[in-house]
């Protein structure tokens, strides 16, 4: 196992960050740290504040209050910091009259870590026509172009905000495969924001969930897998198991109950529960996010 330096400088350090648009609070006193060379998942519902957060981290917007340090500096209008960031946005727009090859040439010019050969291989893998004008690309092809730039830029901090509008399952898996393979060879910090949580959950090392402008989960992916279980069986036994822990969801039918509860079960506990007719199932990352974010809580409360 490789041991990373304990005092590794964080790539991103945010303290007490707030962003208000008029009387709407998009980010509310957010603090977080992003460590180097990890793949992060930035998850949450639409309008939770993910994109606003990424825009501030990449210097495309300024905060109302709070401190933001990215790659050792303030990102806003800081060429040294911005050169080392690649932010691929949902519905990324390009200059319409440029051809694919022009866009790639521009990216190669701007990004110090650009790997031309890798970009060529990706073009081939995704079968993107090099000479086509950007305005003639389909929605999926435009997303592909963004994905290729994001990967071939090899930026120390790469952010993908819902990069795959219009991409089919085959293309998405190609993206995951190329991302993993290249990340293994060239470790760097990657932030992946997506609604397709089940698809990416195994790629992530760390997960941040934003809800209503606040961070409600900031934990290792491994720890999250063990954070909650679904217990189904005789209500009395299920409720005794859930007692004292945070219940995310509960439903019952006659003497049977099903409860999603934030606790783990030890091996002897599992054996006892099994013997008492209680089944334990894991909670997927997607289900955990659904259970912890606002809408679901209001429905089940």
């Amino acid at each position: 196992m490789t041991v990373t330096a304990i005092d590794a400088e964080p790539i991103v350090s945010v303290r007490g960050l707030s962003k208000r648009f008029g009387d709407v609070t998009a980010l509310d006193d957010v603090s977080l740290t992003i460590e180097p060379d990890k793949i992060y998942g930035l998850l949450g519902r639409n309008g939770a504040g993910k994109t606003t957060l990424m825009q501030i981290l990449t210097g495309q917007d300024t905060q109302t209050s709070g401190d933001v340090t990215v790659l050792g500096g303030t990102p806003f209008e800081n060429a040294r910091v911005l050169r080392n960031i690649c932010f691929i946005k949902e519905s990324q727009t390009y200059v319409d009259d440029l051809r694919v090859k022009h866009v790639l040439a521009a990216a190669g010019h701007l990004m110090p870590g650009w790997d031309r050969e890798f970009a060529d291989r990706l073009l081939d893998d995704f079968q993107l026509p090099l000479c086509r004008k950007v305005k003639k690309l389909s929605r999926g092809m435009k997303s592909t172009l963004g994905v290729i730039i994001g990967l071939a830029a090899r930026a120390p901090l790469t952010l993908f905000d819902e990069p795959y509008l219009g991409l089919d399952a085959v293309a998405r898996h190609l993206f995951y495969d190329r991302l993993l393979a290249d990340y293994a060879e060239h470790p760097r910090t990657i932030v992946l924001s997506t609604h397709l949580i089940d698809e990416v959950s195994n790629l992530l090392e760390h997960v941040i969930v934003v809800d209503g402008g606040r961070i409600i989960v900031d934990d290792d992916a491994d720890a999250l897998r063990r954070r909650a279980v679904v217990a189904t069986g005789p209500a009395e036994t299920v409720d005794a198991f859930a007692a004292g822990a945070r219940v995310l969801h509960r439903e019952s039918l006659g003497s049977q109950a099903r409860t999603t509860v934030e606790r783990t079960a030890t091996e002897p506990e599992r054996a006892l529960l099994r013997a008492a007719g209680v089944e334990l199932e894991p909670v997927s990352l997607q289900d955990l996010v659904i259970a912890t974010t606002t809408g679901a809580r209001e429905i089940t409360a």
């Binding site: 196992m1 993993l180 293994a184 992916a221 491994d222 897998r225 334990l280 894991p282 997927s284």
Partner: protein, 120 residues
């Protein structure tokens, strides 16, 4: 990967253990690298590294600097012994619990197993 709620790195460790137990990874044989495991199972390389790291810590695998990881001599027997202990919890205890629910005694279970033995 199966989502049975256990940490992914443990599942990776167990997959490697299975290959050692069934002999497809012989003692002193080289184990797939972190990156190979990550690519094959579509998981984060750090997770794969943690799985292999656990097996190194337990003495099942050993590292050769700059070359990779290899199966320790005697690892297969050690794993089989460990899995036997696990077998009781994983199979025997639920078997008895289910039999109990159906009103079957342990004597009945024994005779069922004996019948199995004879028909083999």
């Amino acid at each position: 990967m199966n989502d049975d709620g256990r940490p992914l790195f443990q599942q990776i460790a167990e997959l490697v253990e299975n290959s050692i137990i069934d002999g497809s990874l012989p003692e002193d044989g080289q184990v797939p690298s972190t990156n190979e495991l990550a690519a094959f199972h579509r998981i984060n390389p750090a997770t794969a590294a943690k799985g292999l790291g656990q097996l190194v810590a337990e003495g099942i695998l050993y590292k050769k600097r700059g070359i990779g990881m290899f199966v320790t001599e005697g690892a297969r027997d050690a794993l089989r012994f460990r899995r036997r202990e696990h077998f009781v919890r994983q199979y025997i205890e639920p078997l008895i619990a289910e039999a109990d629910k159906l009103g079957m005694s342990i004597t009945e279970l024994k005779s069922m197993l004996d019948n199995r033995e004879e028909s083999r």
